[in-house]
Amino acid sequence: MPATEHQQSFLGRISIRRNQVIAMDGNHEQELEDLELFQRHTGDRFADLLSLPDDSPFPGETFLSISWLRKLVDVLLCCEAEFKALLIMGRDPSQIPKPPLDRLLIDFMERTVKVLDICNAVSGGVDSIRQCQKLAEIVVSALEQKPIGDGQVKRARKALGPLMSALTTDDKENNHSRYAERTWSFGRRGSNSGGNHKDRATHGPFRSSSMVVAKNWSAAKQIQSMCSNLTVPRGGETTGLAQPVYIMSTVMVFVVWALVAAIPCQERSGLSTHFQIPKQFGWAHSIIGMQEKIGEEWKKKEKKGSAGLLEEMQRMEKLGQSLIEFVDGFQFPAEAEKLEEVAAQVAELAEICQRMEEGLIPLQQQIRELFHRIVRSRTEILDLLDNGKASQPII
């Protein structure tokens, strides 16, 4: 995994820094050098992500695929580690709580809390992709049987319905009742469905509460407010820590923004317009490139409603669409040519399911890892902020 590679080099870096601490303490040049390295590493890491060809020879490595997202989260983890090294290692802790750094860090901390919530929401989103995967698996297991008969087709259709509605769910409606739910095979209203049970509220439509976040929580608003006080450091602040805090914030915002666009997430209206990164920074070029690419995709999808830009979901949606056409027009026995076409689509769908099966849990674990890392850094930075500042009366 690329993460371990970066991790090692990062650890090596720490030990070097530790040696330098004594000699370089408070050395301004060292600080500038560190900043430059951080910028270069950040730029390089995102450039690698952007340069993945759309039709990569490695299947599943394409832009916005599961494995691409895993790389994206890895990059964030690496940047975070380097940022923390820059911020904490070899620094006189009394520098931290002084203005303007204290203010910047407090804003940064506010942003990290939002990232934590987004991590949870995205992780819940991954669970709902798994629901899609399971529905698609039903379609696959129905249609990969030979010969395909009425029974298989009906079975596939029953799974395709909720699958398609899950894939095209428009999160603006915040309507998850349609979400990957299996429905009655006929229109039951429960009015006369046997008299021996208590007619309770549970008889209403089944509301799946797959979303773990609060009702009014909005991914778009979270990202918006993360950006609201994210300003480019002014001339006087270009040295020191203002710059790394800005870079780290930008990276963080971009990555969670991409995750929210790719993975089903609660309330994302207007996601494409939320933040802008000035073009003058070298490290930001690839980020801006990706942001434009994702933003365009998002605008396209936002119109017709989509659960997420995840490449596998997009392909699943396309396949689902043509399989629905197939099952709707099905008459036994089907033409051999049609069957061949369907077999290929089913095979592709099976391959996507396989990829989801292999990739989603690790992605979820990485998001969890990100959560942990942010919590840990947060604690450390808050400690630094608290320890240095003049104590408040406790009584």
Binding site: G149, G194, R207, S209
Partner: protein, 636 residues
């Protein structure tokens, strides 16, 4: 088509054609009647007939699929297999609906409210055999969580009441898990017979999904009743701590019910329905049902565990920690499977984060005590609010001793004796060997409290008052320690003796600072006139001496009456100690020199006070309010 004879061997079997008819009759996409009625809501014979029909169709499906494709009959073969497949699909769709219907009929949420309150009302006079009908519990009945009354039983399906005889059979070894029957046994049997057929026909995924969606909404309903909210971490960080304290209390109770009753019962239900059908199916269904709710439940504790650390949060964090610690073995049982890894791990992580938070808060507290910045001296040298706060805090800490002894593993990071750092006090651990790190922290907190108080004492202009302040505060510390057996045991008698010595020393220092100069007036030196035979005492010097003494005593009396020793015993002791020095010295001085004054003019100008006057004047000391008039001569 197969010959009917094949079926006569089996008593309950239905011939294929009949089976097909039965299936088609119940095709809910075809007829109104099939749509209106549910098989499992009706006649048992109908149910049995339908299930046999499904079995028959499945049997013929496996026979059509294994028969070798013959080239000549290929088309026929396909056709018949299509018919069978179609029938299977219709049957499975029907069974799925039946399965859903049975589940829905039994989704009345558990009356968790009554499980929450400690309710030990006597068993109702109904035929209900108390909660044996619904709760399979261990002998050890935890009164806190499970309502003993029958009201929650009422919420369960009536069938369940009839079921009381065969339900109390199985017990879990874990004493705290209490499974209740969410669905009566008969319905479980129906669900099981449907599940078996769906799974053998390859409809496992459908079965899991239907199961999960219905049960999940039942769990959601129970969550709402328990008042488990969906709050984002951001929301929780913004809430006032007092509001969160209430939520923590509620969460603890809700989490117990969730893990031990709700989730455990869901698990049991899965095991009951899917028992013996394939491997890990029960587990898949269980996770499908509770994964989301479990994550939602733990999110709250997680958000608390990462909130900003401040001293006032300590005790609720510890409550949360203890509650989770207590639940952890049960969480491990309920979420034992591999697929529930993430939940077990998350619970353990939250627990360790709460422990971390408690440690962080303790050191935060130490910092706060060390740096508490108030500079305005408390009037009268009485007990500083900081002292009260800190001592109350650490006696609360001692109430949580059991937990904290395990959590606090490292010694406090104290200043070393030779550090020369004037901003941190020193502390020697050598003499405190054998103490737990927690005890060392408590002692350390007392050390830094004293250090801070020493600093504050310097803001008194009067050195005597500074000593009195230290005496009062250290005495208070000692009293608080003595008042709490837990605290006393941890601090230990050695350190307590040290503290006692310290306030005694402060008392001595006070007396020295105030009284040495007063008593100095009562010395003999300087009064005798050299070479004189007649009296040998200089009257003018003596008069001067009396006047000085009177003035000094009056001044001390006036100021120190406004000083305060809140502890009556300490106040009494100090006054006695003052009297013991002052009174004999004055009496003897008076005895030796009274005559010299009384033989002169206006003796009352010099001997203003009798011994008794002084004795009673000392009683005005340290009461904390000014004496209204000048010291009067009371005994004349």
């Amino acid at each position: 088509m197969e010959a009917p004879e094949n079926y006569s061997t089996s008593t309950f079997a239905v011939p294929f054609e009949d089976a097909k008819k039965i299936i088609l009759r119940w095709d809910s996409t075809a007829s109104d009647e099939a749509r209106e009625r549910m098989i499992f809501d009706g006649d048992r014979e109908e149910v049995d007939l339908y299930l046999q029909a499904v079995d028959e169709i499945q049997k013929s499906m496996s026979s059509t699929s294994i028969s070798p494709p013959s080239s000549s009959h290929h088309h026929d073969q396909d056709n018949s297999s299509n018919i069978v497949n179609s029938a299977i699909q219709i049957a499975m769709a029907r069974l799925e609906d039946e399965f859903r219907n049975i589940l829905i009929n039994h989704t009345s949420p558990v009356e968790v409210d009554s499980l929450l309150i400690s309710d030990h009302a006597p068993a109702p006079a109904s035929s209900l055999n108390r909660n044996t009908s619904s709760i399979r519990s261990s002998n050890e009945f935890d009164q806190e969580e499970v309502g003993g009354g029958g009201d929650h039983v009422d919420a369960l399906d009536p069938i369940q009441r009839a079921d009381s005889s065969n339900s109390s059979a199985s017990y879990r070894s874990t004493s705290s898990i209490r499974e209740i029957h969410l669905i009566p046994q008969e319905a479980v049997a129906d669900l099981q017979s449907i599940a078996k057929r769906m799974i053998s026909a390859g409809y496992l995924r459908e079965c899991i999904q239907v199961y999960g969606s219905v049960r999940k909404s039942a769990v959601d309903a129970s969550f709402r009743r328990l008042g488990i909210e969906k709050l984002s971490i951001g929301d929780i960080q913004r809430l006032e701590w007092e509001a969160l304290e209430t939520k923590i209390r509620r969460w603890i109770r809700a989490a117990r019910v969730c893990v031990r009753i709700l989730f455990a019962s869901e698990k049991k239900l899965c095991e009951d329905i899917f028992y013996g059908i394939g491997t890990a199916i029960d587990d898949a269904c269980f996770m499908e049902t509770v994964k989301g709710p479990a994550i939602q439940l733990f999110n709250f504790a997680e958000a608390i565990s990462i909130s900003r650390r401040s001293p006032e949060k300590m005790f609720k964090i510890l409550d949360l920690h203890d509650a989770l610690m207590d639940l952890l073995p049960d969480i491990e049982v309920v979420f034992e499977s591999k697929s529930a890894d993430s939940i077990r791990v998350q619970a353990a992580e939250i627990l360790s984060r709460l422990a971390e938070a408690a440690r962080g808060i303790l050191s935060e507290f130490e910092n706060a005590v060390l740096r508490e910045p108030s500079r305005v001296p408390v009037p009268g040298g009485t007990i500083h609010p900081l002292t009260r706060y800190v001592m109350n805090y650490i006696s609360l800490i001692s109430d949580y001793k059991q937990t904290l002894i395990e959590l606090i593993m490292s010694k406090p990071s104290t200043g070393s004796r030779y550090s020369g750092d004037p901003t941190t006090p020193d502390m020697e651990f050598a003499e405190l060997e054998g103490k737990t790190p927690l005890a060392l922290h408590l002692i350390w907190i007392i050390v830094i409290l004293q250090f801070n108080l020493e600093g504050k004492s310097k803001h008194y202009k009067d050195a005597s008052l500074a000593h009195l302040f230290i005496m009062n505060n250290v005495h208070y510390i000692v009293q608080k320690i003595k008042g709490s057996p837990e605290l006393r045991e941890m601090i230990g008698d050695d350190y307590l003796r040290k503290l006692t010595g310290k306030f005694r020393q402060a008392a001595t220092s006070y007396q020295r600072a105030t009284w040495v100069s007063v008593l100095y007036c009562l010395r003999d030196e300087g009064l005798h006139v050299r070479g004189s035979f007649s009296s040998g005492v200089s009257k003018s010097a003596l008069r001067e001496r009396f006047k000085t003494f009177n003035a000094m005593f009056e001044e001390v009396h006036r100021t120190q009456a406004t000083w305060l020793i809140p502890d009556s015993q300490l106040r009494e002791e100090l006054r006695i100690s003052i009297s013991e020095k002052l009174i004999p010295a004055y009496r003897s001085f008076l005895g030796r020199f009274r005559s010299h004054i009384e033989t002169g003019k206006h003796p009352e100008n010099y001997i203003k006070y009798s011994v008794e006057d002084l004795e009673s004047a000392v009683l005005d000391f340290f009461e904390g309010y000014p004496v209204s008039q000048h010291l009067r001569r009371r005994s004349q």
